[in-house]
């Protein structure tokens, strides 16, 4: 048993729902107890769909269990087929139905429906949502794709009108809707025709002709990798390995697609809207250099983000991890490349510990890391599912392609204090408008309150008088106020170390937005050296130690 409050992934049948809901005329008959319909609201609320997911739940209750649940199942199947007239039907069990050992596949097959019935075996007690989506997509492709597996490889290089499938986008996918638009732009520029996009938007008939493409573009390996490998074996369709997230990766992706299609990459390479390289080189971005960033998410987004962070924003990756074990090997390789320990876990407490220990200046993660970062007062941007409703935005906001790179730049830099503002704050830190309590100017909610000028000697309003003689307070060190967002780890440290009044006063002279880090670094420095007090020297020794 695993004790869990928060899960990065749902059970595997949620993955199957994501595939079915993404498609147009496939219905999913799910043998499940009353109550499992909660999953519908993920699609109708978080993704804001205006249609119910195409899922019929048998919704059995306790009183049904002793009896013949086959009857319940079969009448649900008949009703669903009559009402929704799907072109194909998926049948499977949720975690509870898996235990009662009905056989949904057998029961459905015995009915001899006149549409294809695709049975799903999704082991709920060992697998999770992404695996469920991947397996479901693979089973659909296997069942419906027609074609002659012994035919020669599709004419690749030099084909007059090269065709590709876009594989992986699904319902409830993080920015899948907009990523497809960006990739389509690139393909149009290259003269590559999209044969089928699947599962998102595909019909059963589309899947049937998936074999007509020359090659496959795998956008989200978590969902499409298994199917793409099968298509490679079955129809000799090679598939792309580059994930076009970030400027550099998009360029690599264009080269890879052009090679597979046998076309010239040039028309796609100089697309006008690629602003991210210039934004990143402009002098305002200089302060981004060396910012320590912690990255966690699904493996695909995390690995791609790490490359963007290091190569395109000049950050230092200080932590890299993913929650989906299926792609742990890829993540380990990426972590090695960045010289950090890979973190492969689905336990959010472990992630929280790792983030606290790494002392990043920016966290890139999921909805969960957003909350962790908030607790630790670290800026954060979301790069991966699971996400909340605000990350299914109305505006166009892809992660992939050149426009995706623009979006990444804006959304990752936004949470950081703007460079110019940082300089001003440092230079004028004794100025009354830039004192510690004033807050950042872009946060209207924390507009400066009336605060006495330093020379008036007032100590209210969060403004510590800078001229306070250190000696006066030395005999009686001020208690350390519990700062919002300081984690338990620091609390433990504080119990064992003690700031001298002089050091504490010096610490207060450091601008508020870097003070927390200075405090943590100093305490860690003292802790590692077994110091029992933190003096002025300790503070500056630590500063020298952590200087970059």
């Amino acid at each position: 048993m695993q004790l869990s409050v928060w899960t990065y992934e749902g059970p595997p049948h949620i993955g199957a729902m994501r595939v079915a809901t993404g498609m147009r005329d496939v219905h999913y008959l799910l043998h499940a107890p009353q109550g499992d319909t909660y999953a519908d609201l993920l699609f109708t609320m978080i993704e804001r769909r205006g249609k119910r997911p195409p899922v019929t739940y048998t919704t059995f209750q306790a009183r049904d269990l002793g009896k013949d649940t086959a009857e319940l199942f079969q009448s649900a199947a008949r009703d669903a087929v009559a009402r929704f007239q799907p072109a194909a039907m998926l049948v499977g069990a949720s975690c509870t139905a898996e235990l009662i050992q009905d056989d949904p596949a057998g029961m459905a097959q015995a009915m001899r429906l006149d549409i294809p019935v695709i049975p799903l075996e999704l082991p709920s007690y060992s697998r999770k949502e992404n695996w469920g989506a991947s397996e479901t997509f693979y089973q659909i492709v296997r069942a419906l794709a027609v074609g002659d597996s012994s035919r020669p490889a599709p004419c690749q290089a030099g084909s007059p009108r090269p065709k590709a499938n876009l594989l992986g986008p699904s319902a409830l996918g993080f920015r899948h809707r907009d990523d497809i638009v960006e990739i389509a732009k690139i393909l149009t520029a290259l003269g590559v025709e999209i044969n089928v996009t699947a599962p998102l938007g595909a019909s059963a008939a589309d899947i049937a002709r998936i074999g007509e493409a020359d090659f496959n573009i795998v956008l989200y390996p978590e969902i499409a990798d298994t199917a793409a490998r099968w298509l490679e074996r079955q129809f000799r369709q090679p598939f792309t390995k580059t994930i076009p997230i970030g400027h550099g990766a998009t360029i690599d992706f264009i080269h890879e697609v052009a090679r597979l299609a046998g076309v010239d990459p040039a028309p796609a390479l100089d697309m006008a809207e690629a602003r991210m390289p210039w934004w990143s080189r402009s002098v305002d971005s200089t302060y981004l250099t060396g910012k320590r960033v912690f990255i966690f998410g699904d493996a695909t987004h995390a690995i791609a983000a790490a490359r963007v962070a290091r190569d395109e924003l000049g950050f230092v990756v200080c932590g890299l991890g993913c929650y989906n074990r299926e792609f742990a090997r890829d993540l380990r390789a990426a972590a090695a490349e960045h010289g950090v320990e890979p973190l492969i876990t689905d336990d959010h407490l472990e992630v929280e510990e790792a983030i606290a220990a790494a002392h990043p200046e920016l966290v890139l993660g999921t909805q969960m890391e957003r909350h962790i970062a908030k607790r630790l007062s670290i800026p954060c941007a979301v790069i991966s599912a699971p996400v909340h409703v605000q990350d299914f935005p109305a505006r166009h906001s892809p992660q992939m392609g050149f426009e995706g790179a623009n979006v990444l730049f804006d959304s990752w830099v936004h949470p950081l204090v703007m460079g110019l503002e940082e300089h001003l704050l440092t230079m004028f830190r004794d100025d009354f408008e830039f004192h510690d309590g004033a807050g950042a100017s872009h946060l209207h909610a924390s507009a400066p309150k009336a605060v006495p000028l330093p020379d008036q000697g007032g100590a209210r309003g969060g403004c510590e008088p800078q001229g306070e003689p250190a000696t006066a307070a030395a005999a009686n060190p001020p208690p350390t106020p519990p700062l919002a967002g300081r984690g338990a780890m620091e609390g433990e440290l504080l119990e064992r170390t003690l700031w001298t009044a002089e050091a504490e006063a010096e610490l207060k002279k450091i601008p508020f937005f870097v003070r927390g880090k200075a405090r943590r670094n100093t305490e860690r420095f003292a802790e590692e050296r077994g110091l029992t007090t933190i003096s002025l020297e300790t503070l500056y020794d630590a500063k020298a130690h952590y200087a970059r």
Binding site: M1, Q2, V5, Q34, T59, S126
Partner: protein, 427 residues
């Protein structure tokens, strides 16, 4: 006399035929109750023994709350737990020990059963007993089931409260009559109702659940209880089994509902009628004034309730009697005839009362009857809006303070707002 007998509009639906349906049900399971119960019992922890689905449900239902160091969690059953029940029991004990070691402030631990734990027959009652030995008196360990196969949404609260009844101390034989208010209410609402009850002159009054999970009220033949919520059939039965007497009343929604509900207590405790009237009059008048704000938007509007919480019948009665709405169909996941009798009697004759659900057929009836507003779950609300129907999502009615005189206006506003929004939007 105040609202003892409502004016006879029609016969009411006291003996109405009920449309019983079975088929796909679009409802939550009882685990969802944890989301509000844990707020009400700040020293209790709810440990669901279930699957990843159960954890995922809780996280989806709890939304943002999940991050505020919540006092609930799921012990997710894994493949190796299924191999042997002995191991599953050992694993559970290990999880509980670890949890309680980390949360020493917890006084009551609920082991909450789920569909998977029920189906594999993991005996959580036994587990609770087994663990009680190790943790009493510091922590009481209680067990109930919130599984979807046994409970629908708010029935999780019923199961939880019923599981506490055996732990209530026995009231002394000759004890004075005591009033018990049953059902989790927001603190502010509970305080309002307690003030009114005390002003009536009923000094001995307690609530279940209590705010401190270990300070359970006593129960016995001299206990008279009022249900504050309509979904407490098993809890009521358990209390009656211990000799307590149920006071039949409509539920305390709106000016009339709250008056009638308090009246039931006043009569049972022999409170003077004049005194009763003078105590309730100010609140009742305030409530009526507050309702006037929404009346223009709601009067004459037709409303359709899909089954969700068992609050549907009392709410339909309130909207009909006090705001002039016309209930088309009132669906409820479960109909407790006796507890609902005072409500049914006040609904217009033409109302279709349905119990259970075949969601696709019911949606056909929504489409055919074209109500002005449809009360439904979040899985159906946006799809119905996309078809041009105005909806009110039902879960909010469980999470918001809606009982009593001073919430009557807010309650009406919950239904008026979607209609007003429909009218103001020009997109």
């Amino acid at each position: 006399m105040i609202a003892a007998a409502p004016p006879v509009l029609d016969q009411g639906c006291a003996s109405a035929p009920v449309l019983r349906e079975r088929g796909q049900r679009e409802v939550f399971c009882g685990l969802t109750g944890i989301v509000w119960l844990h707020r009400k019992m700040p020293d209790a922890f709810f440990l669901v023994v279930g699957s990843r689905t159960c954890a995922h449900l809780l996280q989806s239902a709890a939304g943002v709350m999940i991050f505020a160091e919540p006092r609930f969690a799921t012990a997710i059953i894994e493949e190796r737990d299924l191999a042997g029940l002995a191991d599953a029991n050992e694993e559970l004990d290990r999880v509980v020990r670890r949890l309680l070691a980390r949360r020493p402030e917890i006084r009551t631990l609920f082991l909450v059963g789920s569909c998977p734990s029920e189906v594999i027959k993991l005996d959580l009652a036994r587990a609770a007993q087994r663990l009680a030995g190790a943790f009493l008196p510091d922590v009481r360990i209680v067990n109930y089931s919130g599984s979807g196969i046994e409970t629908t949404f708010t029935q999780g609260e019923d199961a939880c409260l019923a599981s506490l009844v055996p732990f209530m101390p026995e009231a002394a034989a000759g004890a004075e009559p005591e009033l018990l208010i049953v059902g989790a209410l927001p603190d502010i609402v509970e305080d309002q109702l307690l003030r009114l009850v005390r002003d009536l002159g009923i000094a001995r009054v307690a609530c279940l659940p209590a705010r401190e999970s270990r300070a359970l009220p006593s129960v016995g033949p001299n206990t008279r209880f009022l249900l504050a919520q309509p979904f407490l059939g098993d809890t009521a039965q358990a209390l009656e089994d211990r000799g307590a007497v149920h006071l039949s009343a409509p539920f305390p929604f709106g000016a009339e509902g709250t008056t009638d509900w308090l009246h039931a207590a006043a009569r049972a405790f022999g409170i003077d009628e004049m005194h009763f009237r003078s105590v309730v009059a100010p609140g009742r008048e305030r409530a009526k004034r507050a309702l006037e704000h929404s009346r223009a938007q709601l009067e004459g509007k037709r409303i359709f309730f899909l089954p969700d919480s068992q609050l549907e019948l009392p709410l339909a009665r309130f909207l009909h009697r006090e705001l002039g709405m016309v209930p088309v169909e009132v669906g409820t996941p479960y109909l407790h005839r006796a507890h609902m009798a005072p409500e049914l009697a006040q609904l217009p004759e033409a109302t279709v009362i349905s119990e259970g659900q075949d969601v696709d057929r019911q949606l056909d009836r929504v489409r055919a009857s074209r109500p002005d507003i449809t009360v439904c779950g979040l899985g159906l609300a946006n799809p119905l809006e996309a078809e041009g129907f105005t909806t009110k999502w039902a879960i909010e009615l469980v999470f918001s303070p809606i009982h009593g005189f001073d919430q009557a206006g807010d309650l009406a506003e919950l239904f008026a707002r979607p209609i007003r929004r429909r009218d103001v939007l020009r997109v």
